[in-house]
Structures are given as C-alpha cells and as structure tokens.
C-alpha cells in the first residue's frame, strides 16, 4: 500500500510546490488602442487602381508562408465564398472587379482590380454601372481575362447548386430575392442574367431596376472573380479554382492542407494591392487555436514562418501579452465584428424596459469574461468604430460597470421576466451567465434558455421566435453604414425566416431615412449613417450594443507582412513574406 499512496502523495506535492513558486498576480491594466477610425473613399484617380503595389519594406522573394487554422476551408470556389477565411484566401488566387487598398490601420480606398476604376455610374443615378477591364490581366494558363469571363462568373452564382456565396449582385440584377427562379442558370449557360451585359470584350455593364449605389463595394467580394466557361467544373471547382491572381492552387487535400504556388502569368504591373513574395502559401488545418498559438510561440522549424489564423484564445492572452519578446510577433487590431444583446422588439415593446437593459450592462465585467481588451472592446453604438463615418456616443451612459440604479428607476418597480436564449457553446454560456447577473442586479428576472449551438444561428432569424433576448453579432461585407443599419433595422424586410433584422425592429420614419441615405452617393453617406445610428439608439434602443471583437494574432519570427484587414478583421496576406 505505501508505494501506491506515496506515488499519489509525491505527485501532489510536486504540483503544490510548483504552484506556490509562481509569483503573485498583482494586476495591471492591459491597454489596447481601439479608437482608430477608417477613412474610406472610392478611388477617383485611375492611377490608384494601377499596379504595381508599392514594395513592402524588408520583404524578399522566396520561402513558404504557412497559415495554421483549426477549421478547414471546405472549398475555394470564389462564387461560393463567404467565410472570413475564404474571403481572405481568395485574393491570392482570384482577382475581382474592385478591391480594397488597405494599410491595416483603417486607411481604406476602394480601387479597381480587374477593372480600371471602381466603376462608373453612367447616369449618376446608381442604376447603370460600367466597368472597363484592364489590359494585361491573365488567367493561370496565360489567356487574357475579358469582361465575358467576369460576366460568366457572376452568372454562375445564380446556380442554386453552388450554395454559399453572397447574393447582392444576383438579387440586384433580378430585382428579387428569388433570383434563381427569375433566371435559371442551368438552362441558360450561354446567355447572361437580366441586366448584365458585355457590350465589348473590355466592358462589363450592370443595369438595375433600382438605384444600387453600393455596387462598387459589392463588386469587391470574390463573387466577381472571372472564370472561362470551359473551366467550370461545378462543385468541384472548389478543389481546383482557376487562378487569375498571383498564386494558383497546386494541391488541395480536403480537410488537411491547401498549397498555393506562384502563378507565372500574373502581372504585378496590373495589380494595385497584391504581391508575390513567398514561393508558396500552405494552409494547414486541424490545429486547435491553443495548439496553433503554442506552436507559433515556440517558433521552431517551419512554424517560424507560420501565422496562427485563429485569434489567441482568451486563456492564453495574458501569456502572450505579458511576454515582451512576443510583442513584435503579434498583430492587434479591433475588428468590424459588432456584438449585441439583441432585444426581440416584438416581445419587449416597452421602450423603458429596453432602455433599462442598456443601463444595466457591466461592460467592463463582460470584457473580463471574454479575456480582456485583447479580445473585446466595449461598444455603445450600433455601427462598430471600424465603419466609415462612425461617431462615438453613449445614449445610455452608465459607466464601465453599468448603472443598476438608473435601470431600476426606469423600470419603476416592475420586475420584467425575460428569457435569454444562449447557444450551448462554452463562451456564450459564460457570457449569458455574466449578463444574467448584471440584469438581475438591476431588477430583471432572467431565465437562460440554451439553444443548440448550430441551430441558434437559424432560430433567432425566425420571426416570432420565443426568446426576448439573445446574443448576436454582425460583420458587414463592406465598412459602410449601408451594409449595417438598413440590413439590421429595416422593418420592411422582415419575413418569416432568415431575417438579418433579428430585433424585428420596424419604424416607418427610420425606414424612410434608410431610403433617403441609400440614394446618396456612397462617398457622402458616412456622416448620415452615424447620425441615424445615434437617433435609432436614443429613440428606440432596439438592442444593447456590447463589444467589438479584437483581432489578436501571433506569428512566427520569420512570418512578415501580414496585417489585420480593416474590412473583415482577419489577416490579409497580400503583403505576406518570409523573412530571411
């Protein structure tokens, strides 16, 4: 018996000794600069859209740049791409009509990519747009990219078999959300969808029934990548996309890795943003965020030129942030992903209750639950600070820890019983528990109702869903109020399922404002959206803005050039290079 007990006892002793040897945590306040704001414009000078992109200081050619990510990218079909990883990978092998020039610090400019300019509004009414395709842009087999291949790419996104991509262009062209019934791609492979035409090989023309002033932005999504019809392999294109960018996919091992190598036919002179520094990019899948961060921190072998795609897990943030030697190997930037406590306005109809909810939240405590300012930054506006024209304000000032007294006062003695629907994922459970504590302190009675993680996303998009409160987040497809406020708060768009307006907020005067601002030229809309943002919050409080996600990433000592995209909040690889 003694040896058995001794084994256990000595093990425990060693662990206790190790623990007590740790220094005391005396705190200190990690500070993250989150106050920056993007200045976005559409390039007016065609020179902005020409290549080559300026050289990155210290960059050289050669080497293998590795990206570690837990979840595999399931396909690389540009017309079906909508995941963050897909959107950030696409520029390496697919060129689009327009693209963002981004310095990673919020200075954004929309420029022409395949097109010479970010589009021409022919009649200044946003109904007819023309793009002129650049000279010298080529596919991986050397043939030139013309307007026809771009149009074919857009046409194939009408195919319901190719599920998954954005639907802006299809819906705008067909002028109905049921675009695939309005025009059947499979039956009309040789023709083009209504409103889309190629007057000549270099011109692509869109004609819309209604003003679509955001077209240049929507054209920056990978759905406008070109494809010759003879290279269309249907769903199998996802494993072997036909490249027009600086890299081509040379190996696609589903679920394991994707290898991209230089495309010799890409011409730097035509490209305003991309480079071709590393010999190859390797996307390696499967490592958990924990494992990926630890590997990259260890910085040995191939991991020296690797980037951990997933954000540093909350439990490791203090380790990474506390290590001065790692400072030069981290990327830190607030993202445009805005998280809200959504109030179901069809259930919680009393404005004072919604306002009380806004006063009750302890955002500082919430940020602690999430892992500190390297993970989340508190937010009190509807649009995240990374939106063009954003202006900070706080409609319900309650201090960093919330103001339960003010909330009680607004409730005037009632104790509203609300059900908070929360996904059964680990993080959301923690957040829900935290919010429940905050709200009960202010006089609410909160029931947390768990919803299966995958189902929640769809369930809260159903009108008439049974919950009063739920957590949700929105990442806009381009940093304009137009892709946030009308999408989330236009009550006329509410339908039975699949709603982006998850608060089911509907107010006629606000709806009219949406129409007014949407008809303005995109470059003038910014301040108007900011104004409307504040008005919606002060007059209606349809949600409780909580925080924006912060991107905090770590990379190996030789992985250079990656920066956090100001548009999507994930690493952009156009400047990536391997340091010697």
């Amino acid at each position: 018996m003694r040896p058995r007990v001794a084994v256990a006892a000595s093990g425990a002793f060693v662990l206790v000794a190790a623990l007590s040897a740790c220094p005391a945590n005396t705190g200190g306040n990690p500070a993250v600069d989150s106050g920056r704001q993007p200045t976005g414009v559409l390039a007016t000078d065609p020179k902005d859209s020409t290549g080559p992109a300026p050289e990155v200081a210290g960059a050289r050619r050669g080497g293998t740049f590795t990206i570690l990510r837990e979840t595999p990218i399931s396909h690389l079909d540009p017309q079906r791409t909508y995941s963050f990883a897909g959107l950030m990978a696409a520029p390496l092998f697919a060129r689009t009509l327009t693209t963002w020039k981004d310095d990673g610090a919020g200075n954004l400019m929309l420029v022409g990519d395949l097109a010479e300019t970010p589009g021409r509004d022919v009649n200044d009414d946003c109904r007819v747009w023309e793009f002129t395709v650049k000279d010298g842009v080529r596919f991986e087999d050397g043939r030139p990219v013309t307007a026809r291949e771009i149009a074919y790419g857009i046409a194939r996104s009408f195919d319901p078999d190719l599920a998954g991509g954005p639907t802006y262009l299809q819906e705008w062209l067909a002028d109905t959300p049921q675009y695939d019934t309005a025009w059947d791609f499979k039956a009309n492979r040789t023709s083009l969808p209504p409103g889309l035409s190629t007057p000549d090989g270099r011109t692509l023309r869109f004609e819309f029934a209604r003003p679509r002033c955001d077209l240049p932005f929507a054209a920056s999504l990978p759905a406008t990548a070109p494809l010759p019809p003879d290279r269309d392999t249907g769903v199998n294109l996802g494993n072997a996309p036909f490249s027009s960018g600086p890299y081509q996919v040379t190996r696609f091992r589903a679920g394991i890795e994707i290898v991209m190598e230089r495309n010799e036919h890409w011409d730097a002179a035509t490209d305003p943003v991309r480079h071709q520094y590393p010999d190859r990019f390797v996307w390696s899948f499967g490592a958990t965020p924990d494992a990926a961060a630890n590997r990259v921190i260890a910085d040995s072998g191939a991991d020296q030129s690797a980037l951990s795609w997933d954000y540093v897990p909350a439990s490791l943030v203090a380790r990474v942030a506390g290590d001065a030697a790692l400072r030069s190997r981290t990327l830190l930037s607030p993202t445009p992903s805005a998280n809200q406590l959504v109030i179901n306005n069809e259930r919680v109809t009393d404005l004072r209750v919604r306002q009380a909810l806004n006063y009750a939240i302890d955002r500082e405590g919430l940020v602690k639950v999430l892992g500190g300012p390297h993970v989340a930054v508190p937010m009190t506006t509807l649009m995240p600070p990374a939106t063009i024209g954003h202006r900070a304000y706080d409609g319900y000032p309650a201090g960093p820890n919330g103001d339960p007294e003010k909330a009680r006062e607004l409730l005037g003695g009632q104790r509203p019983e609300l059900v908070l629907g929360a996904a059964d994922s680990s993080v959301e459970q923690q957040v829900a528990t935290q919010l429940k504590g905050n709200l009960e302190r202010a006089g609410f009675v909160i029931t947390i109702r768990n919803i299966p993680d995958d189902a929640k996303f769809d369930e809260i998009k159903k009108r008439g869903n049974p919950w009063d409160l739920y957590l949700s987040s929105w990442a806009a497809d381009w940093p304009s109020g137009a892709s946030i406020l009308p999408v989330l708060y236009d009550g006329r768009a509410i339908r039975a399922t699949g709603n982006s307006n998850e608060s089911y907020f509907d107010d006629p005067t606000i709806n009219a404002e949406f129409d007014r601002i949407l008809a303005l030229p995109p470059s003038e809309q910014g301040p108007h959206w900011a104004q409307l943002d504040e008005r919606i919050m002060r007059e209606h409080a349809p949600v409780v803005p909580l925080y924006v996600d912060v991107a905090y990433l770590v990379h190996g000592s030789k992985a250079g050039g990656a920066f956090v995209s100001s548009v999507f909040g994930y690493p952009s690889l156009v400047n990536a290079h391997v340091e010697p």
Partner: protein
Amino acid sequence: MSLSPVDGTVRAPIEPGGAAGGSRARRTAGRSPGQLVWLRLRADRTALVSGATLVLFLLVALAAPLIELAYGIGPQDQFQGKLDGFGLPLGHAGGVSGEHFFGLEPGLGRDVFIRLVYGLRTSLLVAVTAAVLTAVIGVVLGTLAGYLGGWLDAVVTWITDLTLALPFLVVALALTPMLTLRLHGQRDAVPPAFGVGVLIVIFAVFGWTGTARLVRGQVIALREREFVAAARASGAGPGHMLFRQLLPNLWAPILVSFSLAVPQFVTGEAALSFIGVGLTEETPSFGRMIHRSLGYLQTDPAFVFFPGVLIFALVFAVNLFGDALRDALDPKSSR
C-alpha cells in the same frame, strides 16, 4: 464497459474467473462470505485509506449546502473585482486566500472551492445513480438470459452487441439537445436536474452491457452447479431459484462491475463536457470546470490544479477501493 469510445474511459476488464463465486469461500471457512470480505477489507490498508477518502467525498457532497452556509459564498457568486484586466485572479496561486480556499475562476470570478463542492455533488449523483441503474439493468437482463436461455438469451446477446456497436459519444452528442428540445417549451428554463437526468439515462442505456455479460456467464455456470440442481430437483419455483439460490451468489460480480462503473461515469461526464455535451453552465460540474481550465495551463495553473487533482483523487480512490474489493471477493486471494 461499453463506454469504450470515450477513450478517456477505461474498459477495465473483468477477469472471467476472478470472481468465481462465494460458494467456494463458503466451503473453506466457517464464516459467511460477507463476513469474510469485510475481514479482508479491514485488513487491507489500501482499502481502508481509499474507503475513508470515498466516505469523506460522499459526506462533502451530501453536506454541500451546509458547507456553503459555513463558507459564506454560493456557487453563483461573482467576484470580478478580484480579477485583473485579462480576467485572471489577482494574488497568489489563482487567488487562493483565507476567503477563497481554492481561488477564483478566471472570467466570471466565481469561487472555485464552493463550485468544486457542488461539482462533487453533481458528479457523484450522476455516477452513483447511473451505476446503480446499469447494475439493475445488467443483473435483470443477464440473469434472465443466463437462467432462461433459448431465444431470450439470443435476443439479449444481440441487444448487447448492438449497444456495443453504437458509438457512445456520437449518440450522446445527438440525443442530449434533442431530448431537451422535445421535453421543454422553448421559453421554459431547463432545470439543472434535467441535464443530470439525461446524463444518467445516457450512461445507463450504454453502460449495462458489461454487467449483463458478466452476470449471464455467472448464472450459466451456477445453473449447472450441484446446489442449484438440487434446489431445482426439490421443486423450488423460479422466484425461489432466482432470489434465494442465484442472487446471493451474484453479489461478487455485481459489486465488481459497480466499482468499475462509478469511475467510468465520473470520467464519462468530464469526457462529454470535453466535446460540448452535458450540463449547463449554471450547474457546477467537474467535467465542465476541467474542460474549461485546461486552456489556462500556462496563465492560471492553479485553476487547472484544483479540479484536476480532485477528480484524480476521486477516481483513484474508487479504483483503489474497487481493486481491494476484488481482492477481498476473490476466494483464492491470499493477501
């Protein structure tokens, strides 16, 4: 036994001949088998120490509300003021102090000690209840199959094979949210007891096969023994046969499989939390806490240490005691 796809859970095998019945023990000593086992256990210091540890754990679990009263902190109370900007506890070893014996959870800032006390309660409740259920199911099916034989035996054997062939984790992962949705309104709070109940049911449904096989084998062996044959020849009814002749001779295998099942279910709960099924955040449980703590190995090792050591101590104590129990039950043991 059939929780094997939970690769963290060991299919500790049961030696086929090891517990071959107290009947032989009856011959060799003038004491009843129960007395003999008790004497052997008392003489085994491992059994004493591990048994005492188990009793202590049981007492703590039962007295959790009293402990909360004396300790002055509840399992849902938050102390975020004692966390730094990253949400990590201030002070030494994860915030260990006179007020918080085992420190604080990172993030929500709840007290680790009181949550472990309640977690112990949850874990033991799940494990012991599920083990009792599996023993009952296993004994009933095993005895019926073994004693009656024929087509019933074939059916039970086939159901055993089927249960073994279904992957436990996948089924648990699919069933848990489904049961919750089917049995509760969408706005109803799901009481923690429901989650605990679902776990118990899942363990019971998948855990009985080992006991059933063991009991079946034992009954088949006993059926041919002289004393059973004699009882049958003297016209004993089936009730008498089952309860007076067979059951007393099955205690050894039942106890053995029970002692194997308890640690399996304790670790099973933790394994389920690991893949994201199991109890809700509000229910304190070992599994959930350990799963969450692992990420903090580098930033808050104390948070990994306390739950980890406690679950290890619990499982180790049950395993040691079960081991000693098997020795004591084994008539050929000469320790």
